[in-house]
């Protein structure tokens, strides 16, 4: 009997029940919500001269513009870089995102000892994880 005719396992069924559109819709709303809420916190920005709502609006517009530019650049990358390297960059970017989010969560739990994570440290973790992910895929591949 071929593998396709077998009843899928629990893990496989859980993965298949996840709807990417719903999951990323949730991510989008959570991200937007956090952006709006975080700028209300005076501790997040010390020297802002604008009101919290103006800062939130500016952050949303800036994010939209940069995300649009990044989409255009990624499309150029896809055309100009060969498929193999583009796939590695894209897959390692996923690793970088997940790593940065979870390191931030763990860091928050240890905040009394580690102090508040700065934006620079967050970016450093993101870049470090992206590089690690890149070389992980270069070494292991992703054809299996």
């Amino acid at each position: 009997m071929s593998e396709h005719n077998q009843t899928p396992g629990l893990r496989s069924r859980i993965y298949k029940s996840l709807k990417p559109d719903w999951a990323f819709g949730f991510v989008l709303i959570v991200g937007l919500g956090l952006l709006v809420l975080e700028v209300q916190d005076p501790a997040q920005y010390v020297a802002a001269k604008w009101s919290a709502s103006a800062v939130a609006a500016a952050a949303i517009v800036l994010t939209l513009i940069i995300a649009l530019l990044a989409t255009v650049v990624a499309a150029l990358d896809r055309k100009k870089t060969d498929d193999y390297h583009f796939q590695i960059m894209a897959n390692s970017a996923i690793i970088a995102n997940i790593t940065a989010i979870f390191v931030h969560m763990v860091w928050n739990l240890a905040e009394p000892r580690l102090g508040t994570m700065s934006v620079q440290i967050m970016i450093a973790i993101l870049l470090f994880a992206w590089g690690l992910g890149y070389f992980f895929y270069r070494w292991r591949g992703f054809g299996q």
Binding site: D82, D83, Y84, H85, Q87, R138, R140, G141, F142, G143
Partner: protein
């Protein structure tokens, strides 16, 4: 996915760099396909099939 790229390349006495140049990809891409670390995209698979003048299914095999 298995493939016969290394054998087909050797039959033509091409190096990985030669094949990469003919396919307009990097040598690392050719190496990754040959070692099974990367399954090429469909357009690249068609390009490979065109280059070797063979059907795709005679180059790329199911596991």
């Amino acid at each position: 996915m298995k493939n016969r790229l290394k054998v087909l390349r050797a039959e033509r006495d091409w190096s990985q760099a030669d094949l990469a140049s003919r396919l307009a990809v990097s040598r690392q891409s050719v190496n990754a396909i040959e070692t099974g670390k990367y399954d090429p995209s469909l357009p690249l698979a068609f390009k490979i099939a065109d280059l070797f003048e063979m059907p795709i299914e005679e180059i790329f095999l199911r596991d």
